[in-house]
């Protein structure tokens, strides 16, 4: 068990306010499936962005396919805008090794050549294995590798964090 307390709702407000100063008028939000997509959806509404946010899946570009296989087919990428020339703000719940972000950037480039790609996250938990950094993190913590941090969304749309210790 853990005593770590992360108030996901408070961190969400930090992320939202942090993004206000970072987004260009023409920026588009793209959330990483699934936690990042929930965040992007709510940020998109709260920040009154035009159009629709995008959802992106890392499945088809993961580097652990050989050992993990395909995840369920429910996490399809949906990018309802042109990628060529777009300023993209990737949104994710937890930034850890950086491998998901690497896969997601490859996925993004299958749809075109963006003008820029940045990353904003709710929690940066350290432990990077690739040279990837977030332009904004609402919180920076250090967790042992045995602990898995995942965002959950309850029925009324509010967020909470679950920390599980893996055996």
């Amino acid at each position: 068990m853990t005593t770590l307390q992360l108030d996901a709702e408070a961190l969400y407000v930090e992320l939202r306010e942090g993004l206000r100063g970072l987004l260009r008028p023409e920026s588009v939000l793209v959330g990483t499936w699934s936690g990042g997509a929930w965040l992007a959806e709510r940020l998109h509404a709260d920040l009154q962005r035009p159009g629709k946010p995008g959802v992106i899946s890392s499945t088809l570009h993961r580097d652990d396919f050989g050992s993990r296989g395909l995840a369920s087919g429910s996490d399809a990428t949906s990018l309802p805008f042109a990628i060529d020339g777009a300023h993209i703000m990737l949104i994710d719940d937890v930034l850890y090794t950086g491998r998901t972000v690497r896969a997601v950037i490859n996925e993004l480039f299958d749809f075109g050549r963006p003008a820029s790609v940045q990353l904003a996250v709710l929690v940066d938990r350290g432990g990077r294995e690739l040279p990837i950094a977030a332009v904004f993190a609402a919180s920076r913590i250090v967790l042992p590798a045995s602990q898995k941090l995942t965002l959950a969304r309850v029925d009324d749309g509010r967020f909470s964090f679950a920390v599980r210790t893996q055996s």
């Binding site: 899946s57 499945t59 088809l60 570009h61 396919f65 050989g66 050992s67 993990r68 296989g69 395909l70 369920s72 087919g73 429910s74 996490d75 399809a76 990428t77 490859n106 480039f109 299958d110 749809f111 075109g112």
Partner: protein
């Protein structure tokens, strides 16, 4: 007593070979269909290729000719970034007297990662799966009269795409059922996915009566067989069957079982018409129907690529 595991599944119940739809859990089928919809959208991308099988070698072993099926597997493997090697075995080693398992041993020594096998003998892909190295995966691309599981899965994908829910459907499979591995795979797929009304329609000589044991309604009258059906799967009448005593003539068959607009009117008004191809116009299906608004024969071909990508990537990602 030893419980014999389905040879297509590993100890965790994950698919490692695709030999037959028969005996697969519904969840495995549903996962392949879900994965296929992800791959269908890859066609809309600027880069129509994903790197899941990068660095893997897929050997297409066609002991029996089938340019179309081989091509769809080749396209699917290439869209997954695999290296594809096509071997026209009918014209090479087998004709020099090499045994099937010797051929496989030789190709394995060339570091194959996956065999896609078409063979005129039922059970050949199964035999290969039992004897190949543990990291090698086998896909049955049609064996004898036994099974054609990727065709069965793409038919299930097509039905789900147009009809959404399997549990309310009436599906008629029409034609030469006794010689058809497609019919067998379709019937297994439909029954695993919960279709309550499956009908096998055709002359007595071409419909095995033991299908009743699988919960299939056998109909020798076309009108009865397709009345109210939501899905009609027409099978190709193989020309070689017409020379024997099984059928009087192609025109006779067309008169009784060929799908004409008149007969199609008996089915549900929004019924879809399917066919595994290649079609014989004027034998099992009228041109007006094959090209008509209810025909989904060409979408089947498009879905077939995505379904084969789903099968290959699913099995390649699961360790024996």
């Amino acid at each position: 007593m030893l419980h014999r595991r389905n040879p297509q599944l590993n100890a965790n119940g994950e698919l490692i070979h695709l030999l037959s739809i028969e005996g697969l859990p519904q969840a495995v089928l549903t996962q392949i269909l879900d994965t296929a919809s992800t791959f269908l959208s890859v066609n809309d991308r600027e880069v129509k290729k994903v790197p899941l099988l990068r660095g893997k070698s897929v050997f297409n072993l066609f002991f029996e000719n089938s340019t179309r099926t081989r091509t769809t597997f080749e396209i699917a493997a290439k869209r997954l970034s695999a290296d594809v090697i096509n071997l026209d075995i009918a014209k090479s080693s087998a004709s020099k007297g090499e045994s099937l398992l010797d051929t496989i041993a030789n190709l394995s020594a060339m570091h194959a990662d996956m065999f896609v096998v078409r063979h005129s003998e039922s059970g050949a892909p199964h035999l290969i799966a039992q004897h190949c190295a543990p990291h090698v995966h086998v896909v049955n691309a049609g064996d004898g009269r036994h099974a054609h599981p990727t065709q069965g899965l793409l038919d299930m994908y097509t039905i789900r795409h147009f009809k959404r829910d399997f549990t309310q459907l009436s599906v008629a499979v029409v034609g030469d059922i006794v010689h058809s591995r497609v019919a067998r795979s379709d019937i297994h797929g439909l029954s695993i996915l919960g279709v309550p009304d499956i009908r096998a329609v055709g002359p007595k000589t071409l419909v095995p009566s033991d299908l009743r044991e699988m919960g299939v309604r056998v109909c020798h009258d076309m009108a009865e067989g397709i009345r109210g059906a939501d899905v009609i799967i027409m099978l190709r009448l193989q020309n070689e069957r017409m020379s024997g005593a099984l059928l009087p003539s192609a025109s006779e068959f067309y008169k009784s079982y060929g799908l004409t607009p008149h007969k199609l009117a008996l089915a549900s008004p929004d019924a879809i018409v399917m066919h595994p191809g290649p079609i014989n116009r004027g034998v099992e299906i009228d041109s007006t129907v094959a090209d008509g608004r209810q025909s989904v024969i060409l979408p089947q071909v498009t879905f077939g690529i995505a379904v084969r990508m789903a099968v290959m990537s699913t099995i390649a990602g699961n360790a024996a």
